[in-house]
């Protein structure tokens, strides 16, 4: 027999629990969350479940429309491209290139941004001001131009996309974290901790870090969607992943030749990118509103 509750005990959820509850209350954000989980699984296991290999050419099935078209077949669910390659399989194979690489880039940028940003944020005076000017200069180079600059030095290729987009993203992380740390430093509770005799490391670790986590989370979701769009744009401009690669932006570029006769070779990878970025932005939006009561 369960204990009888005589007094109504108000269960006070932990802050994390509160964020989670607020987040799941938003159905769109929650849908986006599941979509991202699926995408991560696809990026990991997509190649295993794809019916064909990314390079498999079927000369008997050139430019087949998707299966819902009367001329399409179920065998090639999303149709085929001009070399008879199955678009569905290529999307699955490309997921870890576009989405997976975006995650990897953002993770790297986050770590670097966190280290540099927090160190510089804790600094004051001339050093800090020099760094913020440097960041301003780097940020004033649009990500695509930065990527062009990297490609100019290293030549096009998938591995260079990592560097190009990474170098373009890192300053944003550094700056966001730098500013967040800097803002927190001005607040009274930090001064109080300092008066209590906490050393800078303690102040950073126990006082500031918990309060800049939300900035980092939001910056990460923004960073992932920006990274996906940049990777795809580079692939589209032929500066990133090169032709036979099933990277989604490169697939759009390869489909460009058939834009007029077989629009699905462009539309389907484009929709895939759109869905992916949309899911991330939904989650980002949901997180932002879930976090906002704490932020203010």
């Amino acid at each position: 027999m369960p204990p009888i509750k005589i007094y109504q005990v108000g269960h006070i959820p932990s802050p994390l629990r509160r964020i989670w509850n607020a987040f799941t209350d938003n159905p769109f954000a929650f849908a986006g969350f599941w979509a991202i989980c699926c995408l991560i699984l696809l990026a990991l296991f997509g190649p295993l479940i794809a019916p064909f290999s990314a390079a498999h050419q079927d000369p008997q099935a050139l430019l087949l429309p998707p299966s819902w078209d009367p001329a399409g077949t179920v065998e090639h669910f999303l149709g085929t491209d001009d070399l008879g390659r199955d678009i569905f399989s290529r999307l699955l194979h490309g997921a870890h290139l576009t989405f997976g690489m975006a995650l990897a880039i953002v993770a790297t940028a986050l770590v670097i941004g966190f280290v540099i940003g927090s160190i510089s944020g804790m600094m004051t005076g001339l050093k800090s001001s020099i760094l913020s000017h440097l960041l301003d200069a780097l940020l004033s180079i649009p990500s695509l131009l930065m990527a062009i600059l990297v490609v100019a030095v290293t030549g096009p290729g998938l591995s260079n996309v990592f560097w190009a987009v990474g170098i373009a993203l890192t300053p944003q992380f550094v700056r966001a974290i730098h500013q967040a740390v800097h803002e927190e430093l001005q607040k009274e509770y930090v001064t109080a901790a300092r008066l209590d005799g906490a050393n800078p490391l303690q102040i950073f670790w126990y006082v500031i870090l918990p309060n800049i986590l939300d900035t980092m989370i939001i910056q990460t979701t923004l960073g992932i969607s920006a990274a996906i769009l940049d990777i795809a744009a580079l692939g589209f401009l032929n500066l990133g992943a090169q032709a036979p690669s099933p990277e989604w932006g490169a697939m759009v570029a390869q489909g460009l030749d058939n834009l007029l006769t077989a629009p699905w070779t462009v539309t389907i990878p484009g929709v895939a990118i759109l869905c992916c970025v949309l899911a991330i932005n939904l989650v980002g939006d949901g997180l932002r509103s879930a976090l906002s009561p704490i932020r203010h």
Binding site: H133, L134, D136, A137, L138, L139, S140, I141, P142, S143, L144, L145, I148, L149, V151, A152, V153, G155, Q186, S225, A226, L229, D230, A232, A233, F236, L237, N238, L239, G249, V252, L256, L259, L260, P263, V266, T267, G270, I273, L274, V277, L278, I280, N281, L282, D285
Partner: protein, 343 residues
């Protein structure tokens, strides 16, 4: 205020200097001969080599080389294009105006449609209207711009045949460049074809401008909406309502000018992304601007063009973002007060 302006100016120079340092060190890393990367001259003669060495002080130390590099670039010498052998500076000025024209039209579309829609979204009490508008903006924010451009050109250009999808104007109109801005040049053009040329140029700009406007449009709608929502809660709005002013007057006179301040600030933050989008849009619609020029430069490994283009675009962005910041301060008394706070 003067002190503030001086500080912003200082910021501009410092940032530009850093940019030049970055470009200088990258130039040394280009996988070509250093002289070609600097000047674009292929296989220079002994004489030319000597004058290059002198101009860029290649025999001196890094610092001295950097100063020489800075002198050359600031005096407008961006070298000659590796492929076309024309001065990069001339090519740059020829393409910049087309980009500005496109950016201006796109920005105008974004503001003229975005602000009313943002106000609408903030005032509307219908959940459906609100959700629709937010869904549209979120999609607009997530859409890959190259795909949007292709889809628009496929539908409006090829399927429906309403609008041209490539280039700036029908090439049969031979317009003499006066200001460099095509739409203005056409109006200055003394010809019986001027009016139809103007219409033709307008038709050509519609699709690229709309594609490019999508990103700033969504940002403007979102920011206007959230700014309006918080402003409409303010006591001075309540007071105005209590005095019996019409909603129209309240919005136009009291709310909107204040809502415009955060919009302006965010426009400044968005410049980099906007430039990235503009490059892709110019490539898709074969718009003869800086972006298409730069991308063809990278395809041809035209290192002087890449340098010149990136320098110019980044400098413009630095300048504009500082300008917007100054404007923001000028129209926003609150931030002026913060100016002298400790930071």
């Amino acid at each position: 205020m003067a002190r503030y302006l001086a500080r912003r100016l200082n910021l501009f120079f410092a940032t530009s200097l850093v940019l030049f340092v970055v470009m200088f060190s990258v130039t040394a890393k280009f996988p070509v001969d250093h002289t070609v990367a600097l000047t674009g001259i292929h296989a220079p003669t002994a004489e030319e080599q000597a004058s290059i060495n002198e101009a860029y002080r290649l025999d001196k130390g890094q610092v001295s080389q950097f100063i020489a590099y800075l002198e050359q670039r600031l005096s407008g010498n961006l070298g000659i294009s590796v492929t076309s052998q024309n001065p990069v500076f001339n090519e740059l000025t020829a393409v910049l105006s087309a980009s500005f024209e496109l950016a201006f039209v796109a920005g105008a579309i974004a503001l003229l449609l975005g602000i009313p829609l943002g106000v609408l979204a903030s005032l509307s009490k219908h959940k459906i209207t609100q959700h629709t508008i937010m869904a549209i903006t979120l999609t607009g924010y997530s859409i890959p711009v190259f795909w949007l451009g292709l889809s628009l050109s496929l539908w409006f250009g090829v399927r429906l045949g309403w609008l041209p999808i490539s280039g700036q104007i029908n090439l049969l109109y031979e317009i003499k460049p006066v200001t460099g801005f095509l739409l203005i040049d056409i109006l200055l053009w003394d010809s019986r074809y001027a009016w139809s040329a103007f219409v033709d140029a307008l038709q050509h700009i519609v699709l690229p401008a709309v594609t490019l406007a999508v990103l700033p449009f969504t940002v403007v709608v979102r920011i206007t909406r959230s700014a309006m929502m918080s402003i409409m809660e303010k006591t001075y709005i309540k007071a105005a309502e209590a005095r019996g002013l019409r909603t129209y007057t309240i919005v136009m006179r009291h709310a909107l000018p204040n809502a415009f301040i955060p919009v302006l600030k965010n426009l400044g933050l968005m410049l980099g992304a906007f430039a990235s989008y503009a490059i892709v849009v110019e490539v898709i619609f074969s718009w003869p601007g800086v972006g298409a020029w730069l991308v063809s430069g990278i395809y041809q490994r035209d290192y002087t063009v890449i340098q010149g283009g990136i320098l110019a675009v980044a400098l413009i962005i630095i300048f504009l973002s500082i300008l917007i910041e100054v404007l923001h301060t000028a129209i926003n008394p609150l931030s002026r007060k913060e100016l002298y706070a400790a930071h």
